[in-house]
Symmetry: C2
Subunit: 166 residues, 2 copies
DNA sequence: TGCAGATATTTTAGGCTTAAACTATCTCCA
DNA sequence: TGGAGATAGTTTAAGCCTAAAATATCTGCA
């Protein structure tokens, strides 16, 4: 349906590649800034890290059933290896526990009571930080941004690794 | 970059905090996806990494004057320690060289001829990847996104760490 | 039934990052 | 002039990430 490449486009001034590049750099800068600040807060106020928070968040949503590590891996967009390490640490801290499963290859984990409590406090704080960071965006702007980011995400998903080859 | 967790999604009557959270998660997801794909390309086609490319890119813009490591650190938004390590590796590969400076605390570096050549090839490829990844965004959408990201960046900068305290 | 291939996780090796402590050098002013 | 404090960079300890190899277990089919 759609060409996998864009022809040279001299119509509007800057060529397409440059414009995409500028969008990407701004996107990256914003993401880095937020991440850095949030990570600092998590460290200072909860003595924890963002990946650990993300892990707990996934389990919080999953409820008492818990989740297999592979599922967590897919949700967090990180490799199995990374998840294994996080799970080890969180278990050592008593925030998660392992469940018995029929398939013994699978390691299904869920929050402990302590884990739930800790996560609730962190999530509340986290929401406040994000709200403060994005406070200058008007409601309409936020909606617009969200829509454009959705379109961006779809563009990224459509572009398979093979198409990118060159 | 870090993976996203997804908050419960209550469309419509969501309070501000939730909307900011959703914007942030989409932003993070997009940034992570691009970063992952670009990193894979750099590894497969040039046997290098994104941070190294970013370092070379900063030096390329700087020209024959080069840059002090501290300046690079500020441009890349990473700590001095990270920059020291990257510089060590790039120098070992013959891509950068150190310049004499009056202030002997300062280590000013610039691209070698080899570094310039390698960077040029990588930059060309990089631009193509980014263009392909964002290809589905119409010209107007890209402009709009850029504007909104600028506003976002300003909101982030306005929000000092102190204000974030809770 | 039994084995080949699929699947889930862990391990390993190597790179990046941070914060904080440390070294070297410079600047300023009493 | 000489030392206190600022500044630039390096080192260290610890955490996260990846890709790829290794383990363990399961499943399907001849």
């Amino acid at each position: 349906m759609e060409a996998a490449f864009s022809p040279p486009d001299k119509l509007g001034g800057a060529p397409d590649g440059k414009r995409s590049l500028r969008v990407w750099l701004r996107l990256l800068t914003c993401a880095s800034m937020v991440e850095r600040r949030v990570a600092a807060r998590f460290r200072d106020e909860f003595d924890t890290t963002l990946p650990r928070f993300d892990f707990l968040s996934a389990l919080d949503r999953a409820g008492p059933e818990g989740l297999p590590l592979g599922e967590v891996s897919r949700m967090l967009l990180v490799t199995n290896g990374a998840v294994t390490g996080l799970a080890t640490g969180l278990k050592a801290d008593g925030l998660i526990e392992t469940l018995e499963t029929a398939d013994r290859r699978v390691r299904r984990v869920r929050l402990t009571a302590l884990g739930r409590a800790r996560f609730a406090a962190m999530a509340r704080a986290h929401e406040g930080w994000i709200e403060a960071l994005f406070a200058d965006l008007a409601e309409g702007e936020a909606e617009q941004l969200m829509t454009l980011l959705d379109r961006t995400k779809r563009s990224l998903q459509r572009t398979t690794p093979e198409e990118l080859a060159g």
